[in-house]
């Protein structure tokens, strides 16, 4: 394992990220709008008869999940840009194993998307969407673990896709058929317990569901599955995606 190479690839992602201040604001604006407008605006009108239901609190984990999903996939897919604009060649002729290159890319991109997630979490706490009462060292630690797993998993998905594509032409397809369904079926914004059985069944195959559900368990104390199950499924998916992305990346261009 070439730690030096992994480190410098990670460092490069950090530099690029912190240099583009407008990009950080751009990344956060959509989740912020969701939280404020949808959360606060809908919490009064959105109610399930007979149940005390706080929509603002309900969507906080969903908005975090959404932020992580989008920024992870996009930052993984940025490998396509590196392919098109040449920098990937500089990386590929270096005497560094493909595995280290993928790991460097995964860690760098996942860190960026994790920072986005943490910023949204802080905003959610500040506007009262996540109650301070739910916070403890343990719950924060658990939330961080969930967030890291979501980042690693979906960055890997992005890299796996980028390894198979040579330009951004297929991007719209990926958005429509992969990212959006993953997002909506994860129960980020709508409780799936009341959805038709078929939809609930399909949703069971959505890895993000377990991430959002786990975060809900941590912050709200209520979740569809036990937290241990959420954690196990997500971790399994994460490992599988890391393996898949490094396999596809190694075979790229052959």
């Amino acid at each position: 394992m070439e730690f030096n190479a992994i480190y410098i690839m990670w460092l490069r992602e950090m530099k690029r990220f912190f240099r583009a201040k407008s990009r950080i604001i751009g990344n956060l604006s959509m989740p912020f709008i969701w939280l404020v407008i949808m959360g606060i605006g809908l919490s009064s009108s959105f109610s399930i008869p007979g149940v005390k239901f706080d929509y603002l609190a309900f969507i906080a984990p969903g908005v975090i999940g959404m932020t992580l999903l989008f920024s992870s996939i996009f930052s993984g897919i940025s490998v396509i840009w590196e392919k098109q604009f040449g920098f990937l060649k500089e990386i590929l002729v270096a005497p560094v194993s493909r595995t280290s290159i993928v790991l460097g890319k995964i860690f760098g991109s996942a860190t960026i998307s994790f920072i986005n997630g943490v910023l949204i979490m802080i905003i959610a706490i500040l506007i009262g969407s996540i109650s301070i009462a739910s916070l403890s060292v343990f719950s924060i630690l658990l939330a961080i673990i969930f967030m890291i797993l979501i980042c690693l998993a979906f960055v890997s998905v992005g890299i796996a896709i980028a390894s198979r594509l040579n330009n951004m032409e297929g991007f719209q397809m990926i958005m429509s058929f992969l990212v959006m369904p993953t997002f909506f079926l994860s129960g980020a914004f709508i409780p799936l317990q009341n959805a038709p059985l078929w939809m609930g069944t399909i949703a069971m195959f959505d890895p993000l569901l377990y991430g959002v559900d786990g975060l809900r368990g941590v912050f709200l104390g209520v979740s569809q599955f036990p937290i241990a199950i959420d954690l196990g499924v997500l971790a399994g998916f994460c490992v599988a995606m890391i393996l898949l992305s490094s396999y596809l990346f190694r075979r790229m261009g052959e």
């Binding site: 070439e2 030096n4 190479a5 480190y7 410098i8 490069r12 530099k15 690029r16 240099r19 583009a20 940025s78 840009w81 098109q84 604009f85 040449g86 920098f87 060649k89 500089e90 990386i91 590929l92 002729v93 270096a94 005497p95 560094v96 194993s97 261009g253 052959e254």
Partner: protein, 330 residues
Amino acid sequence: MNAIETKGLVKKFGDFAAVAGINLEIKEGELFGLLGPNGAGKTTTISMLSTILKPSSGSASVWGKDLLHDKDSVRKSIGIVFQDPSLDDELTGRENLDFHGRMYAMEPGLIHERIAEVLKLVELESKADALVKTYSGGMKRRLEIARGLMHKPKILFLDEPTIGLDPQTRRNLWEYIRNFNKKDGITIILTTHYMEEADFLCDRIAIIDHGKIIALDTPEKLKEVLGGDIITVESTDSNALKKLLEGQVFVKETKLFDEHLNVSVDNGGKALPKLIELAQKNKITVDSAVLKRPSLEDVFIHYTGRTIREEEASDKDKARMQVKVGGFRR
């Protein structure tokens, strides 16, 4: 040891063979040129030798390491300057070099030292801490060359190193390239479609067209194939000189014009002093003697029946430069 050896190297894209069986032996310390028109297969050949593309068939060894089975060792001994831009625009010049040094597992102290050296070499010290997206096209090219040298490779590939540069910068780069080769002993493989560049720099040249090598030799020998050089002599007694030269072994043909005498010879450089010595011995005054050599352009036409189409090429260069200068910003 040969720095590079290839046997029947082929690269196919679908049914089309971009490289159609190339056999090469490039010696250690050589400055070797691949000369050919657009689409000849130069970049594809270099991409294979630098492990970026997998050959469809054939084999090769680079610095004694097998290209197909020992890619990591091959990568350790080479440096490459790609034809198309490959810098990170959102990093500074120094950061691009630092990234390179660490990817090549160099010691931090050494990285620091080498960055200073290579920046000085390409005269980019004052721009080192500016973001690369603020560089001009020529500066970017120079930075890429500096980067290729960072880790002191054994073999350096330069794919159209001076493409789109102004004549002044091009001349300077030629000097750098020559120095790396002669002083630092780095084996260099250079592609170009500029005749003067190949002629000026290379020890040996392979002319490549449609994915095949159609001629390979030193620039001088390649040009000799065309029937040698022409010496144009002005003398007060051209007739006597013509008679004198006609019997000499080194003279192939003489032709008298109004003002001067044209003498065809195999090797003009060797023939010229002989000619003058002979004239002096026989008390014939030579007022002037001009040696005209056939250019590589003539050689190219001889082998391919076509010109290398420099014009078309330079249009493509311009387009490339626009990509380079405009770049792509996210």
